[in-house]
């Protein structure tokens, strides 16, 4: 795809963003030949103190995007920007960068070494980065993560902690480095319902106290409703809808977002739109709109009635540009769908 990169806004605003990705594509060699376009043209800007929920099914590229933002994967094209500067992939530059962008994974039990005490787990980051005042850092990080008094947890081992406490230790490990950004990949999906709320409340508090920026990768729209300022919906490597959480969830524009929302178990009364099949193989991205083979609007003839069916099958909707609001300006609500934004030129 050679769709032109859209402008990413004035240089003036770049200062406002902590991390940004600009027309990013990430590809892998497919197992049976072919190239998998895991991330296929994504623009995203994260401002300081913002909580963004990135939602989509497995295979939509959300984890690859998160890994690329962390510098764990290199883009095939496009760039990752940190405070307006392009990320360099030398060992030293990456190490410095990773101190500012930390990762929290889904399963805290898998993230923690069972033979390391809580103190060792949290101190590992500061040690690796040669930071001073190790004990002070560990103590502050644990208490920020809600494990108080911190000394009581120093010598405990993961098996002595509950699932929620383990996730707090993982979060403390990230906080010990004073990061600007935390990327959390399904941070509560392996936790019990009662603990889930507590961890989400902790994330809100960290944003408030430390001005942290959070990118939460999740399939859980309830989580997004609970804590996110903004939602980015991904499908097969692209952002298909984005905007303020309340806008997107109360008034979803893209058929895919509507389908996702309809299967949230809490949405009693709305008719479920269960899409058939699974996300297609990223080595074989469908032509036209990549969602059209599963799209309920195409299936039910809505697209045909609106006269966009041909476009759905042959023209890829324009890549959404990064949302970089200027000052107090309201964030927009965009969707990459021909039904929402009719294709530029009608097919003759």
């Amino acid at each position: 795809m050679s769709s032109a990169a859209e402008s990413i806004g004035d240089e003036v605003n770049v200062v406002d963003t902590v991390v940004e990705v600009d027309d990013l594509t990430v590809t892998f060699e497919g197992r049976e030949g072919g190239t998998a376009h895991a991330v296929d043209g994504v623009n995203l800007a994260m401002r300081k103190g913002e909580i963004i929920a990135m939602v989509g099914e497995s295979g939509c590229g959300k984890t690859t995007l998160a890994r690329t933002i962390l510098g764990l994967e290199r883009p095939a094209s496009g760039r990752v920007l940190s405070h307006g500067e392009k990320l360099q992939y030398s060992g030293r530059a990456l190490k410095a960068y990773r101190k500012t962008v930390q990762l929290v994974l889904q399963d805290p039990t898998g993230s923690l070494n069972p033979r390391h005490s809580v103190y060792e787990a949290v101190a590992e980051g500061p040690r690796t980065h040669g930071m001073d005042d190790e004990t002070g850092r560990v103590s502050r990080a644990l208490s920020m993560a809600g494990l108080r008094p911190p000394e009581r947890f120093y010598l405990r081992y993961p098996h002595e902690l509950s699932g929620g406490q383990r996730q707090r230790v993982v979060i403390a490990g990230a906080l010990a480095l004073d990061p600007d950004v935390i990327i959390a990949d399904e941070p509560v999906s392996s936790l019990d319902a009662s603990v889930r709320g507590e961890i989400l409340a902790l994330m809100l508090k960290l944003r408030e106290d430390l001005g942290l920026t959070l990118l939460v990768v999740t399939h859980d729209l309830g989580l997004a409703w609970n804590i996110a300022d903004r939602i980015v919906v991904m499908y097969l490597g692209r952002v298909v809808e984005q905007g303020p959480t309340e806008e997107v969830l109360n008034n979803p524009q893209h058929p895919y977002t509507r389908a996702l929302l309809s299967v949230v178990p809490e949405m009693h009364g709305t008719e479920q739109i269960v899409l058939s099949g699974e996300i297609p193989d990223p080595t074989k991205i469908p032509s036209g709109c990549r969602f059209h083979p599963r799209c309920q609007e195409v299936r039910d003839g809505v697209a045909e009635k609106a006269g966009v069916l041909k476009a759905c099958q042959s023209i890829s909707p324009a890549i959404l540009s990064a949302q970089i609001p200027i000052g107090e300006a309201e964030l927009g609500h965009d969707a990459a769908c021909h039904l929402v934004t009719p294709p530029p030129a009608p097919l003759a």
Binding site: A193, S194, R196, G222, W225, N250, V263, P265
Partner: protein, 325 residues
């Protein structure tokens, strides 16, 4: 008619540190064609409860009460009969099923094996034919019989696990967290499938999950467990929309209603951890975490009491009007 009837079932583990009552006096029945959900936090005893149905608990554990599968008490069965009942009368779709398939055997072979073991009259050809039908029933093309597990997605593997449990036409299907590792969309597909199978085959189905919201839309009835006991039960949607027990209300609060402005930036949880079953609090086991606990709760004996038609809850405050549905 109840195909699974648990009467006053208790199970106690006996590690060196002292007895651990993991399931305490549970009464639960599942009718043919009915889907019943059991929800609760990890450690509440829900997986242990399933283990009693097929006697999958360790030899050292002691059990009490009766588990009737199609009218026959599991606890009284001789070993030979027990072996026939497992898979034949009651089958399990285990948690973490995605790793339960043999990675170096074709799907078809793994599906044929239990049929040949359990059905003495089955031939290789008849078993293969049945496998093809089963695959179609769980929404997969019959050619998947030739695939290896790694060639399938998570949702497809879960469908295989369901087909595997159905190979011997059980009357009861027990599902332990059947959708936990799956995506929302695939989750909805799998639950739809399970519900359809229960209806079509008039099978009783017991689904266990920590995700109350998943159960609420897909089960006919639901039971909420805490510290080894059922603390609330009733029609699923009713329990979901009007929870009576304070624990159920806390669990429900964890899943916000999208569109409800009050829950924006206000995630709700339940402080504290569930008690260790070997060291239960006095009185009502939930009292140390309960937002409405009084002194009385530290000593009171709580048991399930009717709170509305078809609804029971175990809380001494409910009859006093607090949280009545």
């Amino acid at each position: 008619m109840a195909v699974l009837d648990m009467r006053d079932v208790s199970l106690t583990y006996h590690p060196a540190e002292g007895p651990v009552p993991a399931v305490r006096n549970v009464n639960l029945s599942v009718n043919a064609g009915e889907v019943v959900g059991v929800a609760g936090e990890s450690g509440c005893g829900k997986s242990t409860l399933i283990s009693t149905v097929l006697r999958l608990y360790p030899k050292t554990a002691t059990v009490d009460g009766e588990v009737l599968v199609d009218g026959e008490n599991i606890f009284d069965m001789k070993w030979n009969r027990m072996r026939a009942v497992r898979w034949g009368e009651a089958a399990v779709v285990f948690q973490g099923a995605l790793h339960s398939l043999n990675p170096i055997q074709r799907i078809g072979k793994q599906l044929v094996e239990p049929i040949l073991v359990h059905d003495k009259g089955a031939t290789e050809a008849s078993a293969k034919k049945k496998v093809r039908e089963l695959l179609e029933q769980v929404g997969l093309p019959a050619r998947h019989a030739n695939a290896y597990p790694h060639q399938l997605s998570g949702g497809q593997k879960q469908r295989i696990m369901i087909a595997l449990a159905l190979t011997c036409d059980p009357k009861v299907l027990l599902c332990d967290e059947p959708t936990t590792a799956l995506d929302v969309m695939v989750q909805a597909q799998i639950l739809d499938l399970l519900k359809g199978i229960a209806r079509e085959r008039s099978m009783g189905m017991l689904i266990i999950s920590h995700d109350l919201s998943v159960l609420s839309t897909n089960c006919d009835r639901i039971a909420i467990m805490y510290a080894g006991q059922v603390v609330e039960q009733g029609p699923a949607l009713d329990v979901f929309q009007h929870p009576a027990h304070p624990y159920t209300r806390a669990l429900m609060g964890a899943f916000p209603t999208i569109g409800d402005r009050e829950s924006r930036y206000a995630p709700s949880g339940l402080p504290g951890d569930p008690p260790f079953p070997g060291d239960l609090p006095s009185g009502c086991s939930f009292h140390p975490r309960c937002p409405i606990a009084t002194d009385e709760c530290t000593t009171a004996h709580v048991a399930l009491e009717p709170v509305a038609p078809g609804r029971d809850a175990a809380c001494i405050h409910i009859n006093q009007g607090v949280g009545a549905p």
